[in-house]
Amino acid sequence: MDEIVNELQAVPWPVVAPIIIIQFLLMVIALIDCLRRGGETKGPQWVWILVIVFGGIFGPIIYFLFGRRND
């Protein structure tokens, strides 16, 4: 337990936090887009939601590039 706390404290949060925030932002934008489109995605919407949320930095990118039907 102590070890984990130590390691967490060792993480340079002021430096890493912006990265996490921006990555989160990207995910949120992708989610908004995906949900707003309703069924207008290529393939089932719920799959894309999983991709966006659990795909790390590449999840939202892959969604934006390949998940959307052109209109």
């Binding site: 990265i19 921006i22 932002l25 990207l26 887009d33 939202p60 990118i61 934006f64 590039l65």
Partner: protein, 262 residues
Amino acid sequence: MRQWIILFKKEVKESIRNFKWIWIPVVFILLGLTQPVVSYYLPDLLEQFGGLPEGAAAAFPVPTGSQVLAETLGQFSQIGLLVLVLAFMGAVAGERNNGTNIMILVKPVSYASYISAKWAHMVLLALVSFTAGFIFSVYYTFLLIESVPAAHIIQGALVYGLWLTFVVTVVLTLSTIIKSPAAVAFLTFGVTITLSLMSSLLPEIMTWSPGMLSSHSHSFFMNGYGNEGFWLSLMCTILMIAVMLSLAIYVFRKKEMAVHTT
């Protein structure tokens, strides 16, 4: 000119609506932020988790500021370019395949404006994304590692911006010639990878190549001037961009917009 602006504004509006103007800059910012952080903490991380023998971590010293900036450009050249090319591969082909261009081109619209407005929008989006990402990268590099002369950074960034413009122009031109967006992307990667590889393997005979521009920009970061042959490759690149753009317009004019079906 007025018509050109109308066409250009439509491109911008479209990319705002489909979030391209948000997500592509955000991806570049993320890449720009991550690289200095990784470079700075890599030796630490290796020491802690790498299970390396004592002293091996010393083989991974914290790089200099200009090295980190060059590494950032490396990220842009991989993931960044991948994103740009895939996002733009259907620029012309897409509208032709779904037929939306027909109703636009029966209006008194100049084909040259139609293509060049698309090109300008793609270039603008690419350069704005690159600039945004690079600003964050520079800030973190200064914060974590060391500062690099501003003039060096700006010159290097301009040179790299030209390389991005070149790649975007390749996408646009191929997208005018080829119907399939996937083939457009594939060929663009083929062209850029070949140019980059050839330029690093055979620098002597590839001095003219746009693929040399990234290494010139690295040199600008480090020294404030480009490598030998910089001006040649700069001029060649600008020339090739102009030629490709004219070719795209020429091909587009020659093509019949309506597709014969029955």
